[in-house]
Symmetry: C2
Subunit: 611 residues, 2 copies
């Protein structure tokens, strides 16, 4: 298998040009020396999960935030270290640059240090198959898409066999650090590994890096994940091309399903970029508990209104996670999943469904039945990329429009739909400048986390909507991003899941969603399609960022730091010896602040979750 | 309906930047004055069709080639003219620039001249729905994709009602010229219209422009068509992303069907750009009379060989025209088509098929049967964009691999295929610099054709592989591109079709095909995937051209002109009064030249057709 790697590559002119691109670095990493400052000890963002996580992660829970800053102080010479890196999640544009950034930082601090890449992803980790990263290996992968420099296999390092194999690999290879590149699943595994390694007295420190095109690894510490920018740009280009096409021919509705797993971040961003007529966000559907018939009716009403304006074309975006957001389909999938867990074989499942689930199942067209019956994925979700929700909706809309035509309520021309699935064709793209810079910086941050001896952290780069020179580098404990899911199982009983870094859904109170909502009516009726065009690497549009990133309030890490500075200032103003008046003012202000915060952080307070 | 047009458009930053792009013009169009020179009278490229075409096109057959050259002589002031322009074919990137180029040339020669765009394509022509083209109308469509400035409807102007409506529109609107933008079908119609207009004494001159993303409007006079460059670049980007993706995950075969109608030009060019593992050209299949089982076997053998190298991924390109290139499927489609023409309804067709066709039909999976039974298109071909040939092949390959696994001949892991259709997502793209320049130049040439009073011509720009300043502008009679198809109907009888500008297939003796053939084995086994990346508008790769264009011998128009210069030189050397020796040398050389040419142009000579 090693022979696959190191095969000479034939780069196009543009690829060669990209290989010469030097990523922008934040100013804190530009100097010769980087220092670390620690913040307060962390909690978890969901207070009700706190005690569970604290109990299960005794070695890695509650560690402080870390901030990396340029220092003039030259520290002692860096020791020789050995680091392993593994691609765990699905391929996302920018992954190679994490490895490159890590390599550059390691070698800059001690040229005798070694970076080993695990060949073939997690399987390579378990089997200790490595490739030493060198300038030569990297030369044709700098700023290039895919994960093909090393390859990837499964997403998970979860079973005790897998965890043991990882432990043995790290010990055998005498690694000081293991860097795990992936999404929420992989970073959940990174949290578990770091705890187990600490428990086992293994010296290998585990660091996670947020790399997932879905954009659903996102929280106070992580503003966006590597790959999301590129994926949204490539998909928006294609969606916009479809809009132009629809408007040129004026006879088709294009139903486009987009990759992005359970959350609708990709669909939301693409809608903000391209202005299609409609986007059906899974979060909206789940929030309003819309059934498949409600959604069909919504689309039909839109088609009918447009027909009254003599418009017979349109573009409708559908996130691949939609199927799990529709209550009755989700319940059906849950039943199927449960039957699989009981060992029921595929062909016997339909007969074992509950009466209502069976009625729904029978109503669905054959192609869709077959897709619902596909074996669930490793994270228990349905095989979202294989379920053609766009086809089901197009068929239901067509049937309903025919019915309305017969009833005389729809008087327009024939409704024509063409279905598409956009996903794979964006995933291997050359990464955007933003993803190149962000990934390269994260890679460097990984080195500084390991150099500081930290275990169970995720590398963070924040303040991303500003120029790269102003980005802030830090690290946040993986446990601080974890939460525990609860399900009610009817009759008052409830069960809880394992602590995990759960994929984050689109925030229906967020600014990106608000922006979409403000424009939804215009998008629907006015065809104000907008084409961001193909991803550019030079010229004014080359450094654009996602709209989601730009409109959201971010820089949580910066604000946490700012708060600390306020607290320090209070302490320095109110040193023993200060006047009675100053002390009194401080006391009454602080009493008021703590009152407000104690209310806001109590479990009964129903304000928005942060972000 | 007019209200659709002139709606304010919201352009992205990149679209705005593109709207500022000034297309490059050939030097012959850069001066203030352009002159026309005529070449010899033309024939048709297929000598055996010549008499048919000559008889059916008495007014427009045999007109000379025209060459446009910069002149210093300032001609008389240009008269006021009125010109109509209509989008006929399918939307291809660059279409708007033809209108822009035409507008600029018309207005530069007389600001009182008028350009009318027909709104809604051919339907607008028939109904005399027009929009006067102005700077304001054009401002947001310069260098932009789609045909949405005016829209398009059907491809054809063919029935006598349609032709009459077009004639009445041109007369009513007092047009001096009608410019038809489209592919081979539309330009065939342009030829017919120009003949009928001439016969009817209508003053409107008809000009065709080669605009089709399929790249199949191509002959001695037309080196490539507008849109082909962009489509191939956008598709190559996506195919390359799939290659990177396949190589990263190492577990899927991607079967990708590409738009391009009956010919495989798009698939060939994309293969040369992206180096996928396999491309199945329709022309190859038809040439070797491969059955669907032969093709399945070819793919299975490739999968098996790769499995022996521990490779379980790959990318296979399939042109949408493949289904009509496979002998038995083509025959089946012909039977279905014939039954439709006899008025048989869809559901009754299967029962009326001949025994062998019925056997094949029954063997095919249900989804494919349904697609084969779709009503044929206006040009009698199957609905190629709706027939999922890639899915059929993937299924057949999977079945065969399972069979080989049971027999023990295939020992590898499970074969996994994922199918895609790339077409619509490229068709609305922002046009490449090449397509912007080429289309704008063609638009200007249209003006000069009309100014020269020519009817029944296609605008031509040649020598395209060189820099735009060196391009040659001209015009070729549409009749010179026509041929007549012959079908043998068994038992010695044969029938002939109407003269048409027929879509040109990939030349299996051409240099592009040769290049593919030389590399096919490497592509298959070595995964030397190449990613040309997203279409760039600045930087070194922005001015790249298709490989097909660059490797082929072209500039036929330039060579025809060069030959004329030789003949002129002979005449001037051998003026009466020259020496006996000179005359003798000239005579013997010319005798030898004419001998060779008379052999080469005789019907029995079996050399390659030009191009």
């Amino acid at each position: 298998m090693d022979s696959d790697y190191g095969v000479p590559r034939e780069l196009s002119d543009l690829q060669k040009l990209r290989a010469e691109y030097i990523p922008n670095l934040p100013s804190c990493l530009q100097g010769s020396s980087v220092g670390v400052e620690f913040g307060d000890r962390t909690t978890t963002s969901d207070p009700s999960s706190d005690h569970v996580i604290r109990r299960l992660f005794p070695h890695t829970y509650g560690q402080p935030l870390a901030h990396f800053l340029a220092t003039s102080a030259k520290g002692p010479d860096a020791p020789i270290i050995r680091v392993g890196v593994v691609f765990c999640g699905r391929q996302s544009p920018g992954g190679h640059n994490v490895v490159w950034g890590l390599y550059e930082a390691i070698k800059a601090h001690n040229s005798k240090s070694v970076l080993l890449g695990f060949v073939g992803g997690t399987d390579g980790l378990f089997a200790q198959k490595t490739l030493e990263i060198t300038d030569d290996v990297l030369s044709t992968y700098k700023n290039q898409g895919g994960f093909d420099m090393l390859g990837r296999t499964k997403d998970q390092i979860r079973t005790s066999e897998q965890v043991n194999a990882a432990l043995i690999a790290c010990q055998t290879l005498q690694l000081n650090g293991l860097v795990i590149i992936g999404g929420s699943t992989s970073n959940t595994d990174a949290a578990q590994l770091s705890e187990i390694f600490a428990e086992a007295g293994c010296v290998t420190k585990v660091v996670g890096v947020p790399v997932t095109l879905n954009g659903d690894l996102k929280n106070q510490f992580v503003e966006t994940s590597v790959g999301f920018d590129t994926i949204c740009k490539v998909n928006s280009q294609l969606i916009s091309n479809m809009c132009t096409d629809a408007l040129s021919a004026e006879k088709y509705y294009y139903f486009i399903r987009l990759m992005g797993r359970k959350a609708s971040h990709v669909a939301l961003e693409c809608a903000l970029q391209s202005h299609p007529n409609m986007v059906i966000l899974g979060e909206d559907v789940a929030g309003s508990k819309l059934t498949i018939f409600d959604i069909t009716k919504q689309i039909c009403d839109a088609v009918q209104t447009r027909a009254e304006q003599d418009k017979y074309h349109g573009v409708i975006l559908i996130p691949e996670g939609l199927v799990e957001s529709i209550p009755e389909l989700y319940a059906l999938l849950q039943e199927i999943n449960a039957l699989y867990k009981q060992g029921v074989s595929t062909e016997k499942i339909p007969a074992k469904l509950s009466p209502w689930a069976s009625a729904l199942f029978e109503f669905l067209p054959p192609f869709f039945k077959k897709q619902l019956l596909l074996l669930p994925e490793s994270d228990d979700s349905a095989q979202l990329s294989q379920i053609e929700m766009e086809k089901l909706l197009a068929q239901l809309v067509e049937t309903e429009i025919i019915k309305r035509t017969k009833e005389g309520t729809y008087k327009g021309k024939k409704f024509n739909a063409i279905c598409h699935f956009f996903g794979y064709q964006a995933r291997g793209s050359l990464p955007s400048n933003f993803d190149c810079d962000y990934a390269f910086t994260l890679g460097q941050v990984c080195y500084h986390i390991l150099a500081a001896g930290l275990n169970g952290y995720m590398a963070t780069v924040t303040n991303l909507k500003n120029h790269a020179s102003k980005w802030r580098c830090g690290a946040a404990p993986l446990t601080a991003m974890m939460s525990v899911k609860r399900w009610s199982r009817g009759s008052g009983a409830s069960s809880i899941g394992k602590p995990a870094i759960n994929p984050v859904k689109v925030d229906l109170n967020g600014k990106a969603y608000e922006l979409l909502n403000q424009n939804a009516a215009k998008f629907l009726s006015d065809d104000i399609y907008r084409n961001p065009g193909p991803l550019q690497f030079s010229g004014p549009s080359a450094d654009s960022k996602t709209i989601t990133l730009c409109v959201e309030d971010q820089d949580y890490m910066g604000r946490i730091k700012e708060l600390q500075e306020y607290l320090d200032k209070v302490r320095s103003f109110v040193k023993p010896g200060c006047s009675q008046d100053v002390l009194k003012a401080a006391l009454s202000s602080m009493a008021s602040v703590t009152d407000v915060l104690s209310v806001m952080t109590s479990p009964s307070f129903s304000g928005h979750q942060p972000m």
